[in-house]
């Protein structure tokens, strides 16, 4: 039996600011993980990644990250690295956590 597909989102760093960004369904970028378009199939994930990678003048290093859907239907990170990327460093109140 094929393993269940883990939903994916596309994330990258912003070319100018260097901070973490997430790809929305309309191909634009958000600073919020919850705004990311969620791919429920590998085909859709590949499609989203291609949309992101075409935007060389905006993002750096776009990749697919595993996500799960929260109670509100918005995606949440699964891996701790992705969770850290939604917040910023743990030693100072810098990065996204300071902008929230």
């Amino acid at each position: 039996m094929a393993r269940a597909f883990t939903p994916k989102i596309v994330t990258a760093n912003d070319l100018f600011e260097g901070d973490v960004i997430y790809l929305r369904a309309d191909g634009t970028w958000s600073r919020e993980h919850g705004d990311a378009a969620v791919a429920q199939t590998q085909e859709r994930a590949d499609e989203l990644l291609a949309v992101a990678q075409a935007q060389q003048d905006v993002q750096i290093g776009a990749y697919l990250a595993d996500a799960e859907l929260g109670a509100d239907g918005r995606p949440l990170p699964i891996h701790f690295r992705e969770a850290f990327r939604t917040r910023g460093p743990s030693n100072y109140h810098h990065g996204k956590q300071a902008q929230a």
Partner: protein
């Protein structure tokens, strides 16, 4: 100290001008990231987890007050008001914006600094003993050689695309404070039978994925032969080093796979060929460099504090005990300013603290500062009589932690709080250990102990040579920490041995506590250090302390 020549100045300015144009072209879309990435890395600009990071070179860890002030201004103007001093004696700014980086580099060039060769497969910043020129045990100041190597290696046309990065460390003392045996090339000053100073040349050391202690390829190399000899080593490496596998591309793998004798033969052959073409640096150039590093005229007041004089202030006394080292001139001293406050981030200094350090260097340390690979700052030439005033100023600036060489003087890489390569966090582990052992009396009772933490196998936190090494890993999606014991980064360099299975983030601090309890219980006296005790009793008692209790909990 050495200041840039007109040549250096012109070269650095030209690089900034080029990089400015490259950044403009990246921003307007004429350069892709694939094209731009090698260019930005050549100028020290990395992309990390949350932002760009600019790594600035501090050659052989020597920096003057004007430069330190400029770093403070850069931190305030283009970053978040602090900088992170690294285990390679560099400084990193964690939050620059792409468009600002050329301005930051221009500001650095204003004080003779740059970010060149802080990345890429080239000869990196040459590191040196942070007590160079001041240490009581030194044969000669190694920094004139380090500066010569900087000039030789900067933009060296043959060695710009090596199989992998290449790191050189140098010390002028028999007591190795520069971890020379864990570098691609380590140079240790020694004397020959005639009493002349020269270098013992060590090749193929390194930490990372495959940790190795470097091997001696030449027991005594006359100083005059240094450049052609290093050129020969680099030639052998450049031609034979593996380029098929990034993880096997460092010279340590070449030495390991080829064998020491064969490597020596190849180096000596290349050296013989090289020597014929290499007249060596102009004597006038060498003399000028040496003059630039001449020791400041020290004239300590006769009435000075010695360690024998009772000191009234117990905090001052405690700080002198741990943070002050013997200087080659009696009545003078070396101060190590700890950047490891309890609960703080190892190696971080705020812009205000940098300015205080610059002021103190100007007022008390003959305009010199050093960055140590242990992520502290050194005031190398102070008078003992000034120690109370220096201590008072440091206290006011939150930099008087009296813990150098103790359990809370921890090396930690930035780990997954910043670094894109990290597999787990390091900083919070360092913070928690220092908090757990906050009481300075407890720390002093435990005695000399080096804990070193890396957030991935690349080992920027030198965990392999920590008496206690901690390596953060990703174990099935959870941060996990592996312990090594018995590592040593000095002249008796040893790679630490793994204790066994790793510990979860909430188990690692109790595990370190159990190690310390075990040590306190088994040491023969207060004089037997953790490392000595480990060498005497071996792994077993520590393993028992670590794992039998864990098993009992699990049962």
């Amino acid at each position: 100290m050495y200041s840039y020549s007109e040549f250096d100045e012109g070269y650095v300015r030209e690089r900034v001008r080029k990089f400015r144009s490259q950044v403009e072209r990246r921003i307007d879309g004429s350069l892709t990231e694939d094209e731009f990435k090698p260019l930005r890395l050549m100028n020290g600009l990395y992309l990390q987890l949350h932002a760009y990071m600019l790594r600035v070179a501090i050659p052989y860890g020597t920096i003057n007050p004007a430069q330190m002030r400029q770093l403070a201004d850069i931190a305030d103007k283009w970053d978040k008001g602090y900088g992170h001093f690294t285990t390679r004696q560099n400084i990193q700014f964690n939050w620059p914006k792409l468009k600002d980086v050329p301005d930051m580099l221009d500001a650095l060039a204003d004080v003779g600094m740059h970010a060149i060769q802080t990345s890429g497969n080239c000869i990196r910043n040459v590191t040196a003993d942070h007590f160079a020129g001041a240490a009581a045990d030194e044969i000669e100041d190694p920094r004139p050689t380090a500066e010569l190597l900087r000039q030789w290696s900067t933009d060296h046309p043959e060695f710009t695309f090596l199989p992998r990065k290449f790191k050189v460390a140098i010390t002028g003392s028999p007591n190795d404070r520069a971890v020379t045996k864990a570098h691609d090339i380590g140079l240790r000053m020694v004397r020959n039978e005639a009493g002349e100073p020269g270098y013992e040349v060590i090749v193929g050391g390194g930490l990372g994925r495959t940790p190795m202690v470097g091997k001696v390829v030449r027991e005594f190399l006359p100083k005059i032969d240094l450049l052609p000899y290093l050129e020969a080593i680099l030639q052998v490496y450049n031609l034979s080093g593996r380029r098929d596998n990034k993880y096997k591309a460092r010279i340590k793998i070449l030495v390991h796979e080829t064998g020491l004798d064969e490597i020596k033969t190849r180096i000596e052959a290349a050296f013989e060929a090289q020597k014929k073409h290499f007249r060596g640096p102009e004597p006038s150039l060498v003399a000028a460099i040496e003059a630039a590093f001449s020791q400041p005229e020290l004239d300590p007041p006769v009435m000075s504090i010695s360690l024998d004089t009772p000191v009234r202030d117990p905090l001052l006394e405690s700080w002198i005990d741990t943070n002050v080292s013997e200087h080659k001139v009696p009545g003078a001293a070396i101060v190590t300013v700890s950047l490891k406050p309890i609960g703080g981030t190892p190696g971080d200094a705020t812009s205000d603290q940098m300015r205080v350090l610059a002021d103190l260097a100007e007022r008390y340390s003959h305009n010199e500062l050093r960055v140590s690979h242990e992520q502290n700052i050194i005031l190398p030439h102070v008078y003992r009589a000034d120690l109370p005033a220096i201590h008072a100023a440091l206290r006011e600036a939150g930099m008087a932690t009296a813990n150098v060489g103790l359990i809370s003087d921890i090396i930690a890489c930035p780990g997954m709080d910043y670094c894109a390569l990290a597999t787990a966090r390091s900083i919070p582990i360092a913070q928690e250990i220092s908090q757990r052992f906050e009481d300075i009396r407890v720390q002093k009772d435990i005695g000399p102990l080096k804990i070193k933490i890396s957030g991935c196998i690349n080992a920027c936190g030198h965990h392999h040579v920590g008496h206690i090494g901690i390596l953060g890993l990703d174990k099935a999606g959870v941060e996990s920490y592996q312990l090594t014991l018995g590592g040593d980064g000095t002249q008796t360099a040893t790679i630490g041995t793994r204790t066994g299975p790793g510990f979860a983030a909430d188990e690692i601090i109790p595990a370190v506590e159990r190690l310390i309890d075990a040590y306190l219980g088994l040491r023969e006296s207060r004089d037997e250090t953790f490392l000595e005790a480990y060498r005497r009793v071996g792994m077993e008692p520590f393993k028992a302390a670590l794992y039998s209790e864990a098993k009992a909990h699990a049962a």
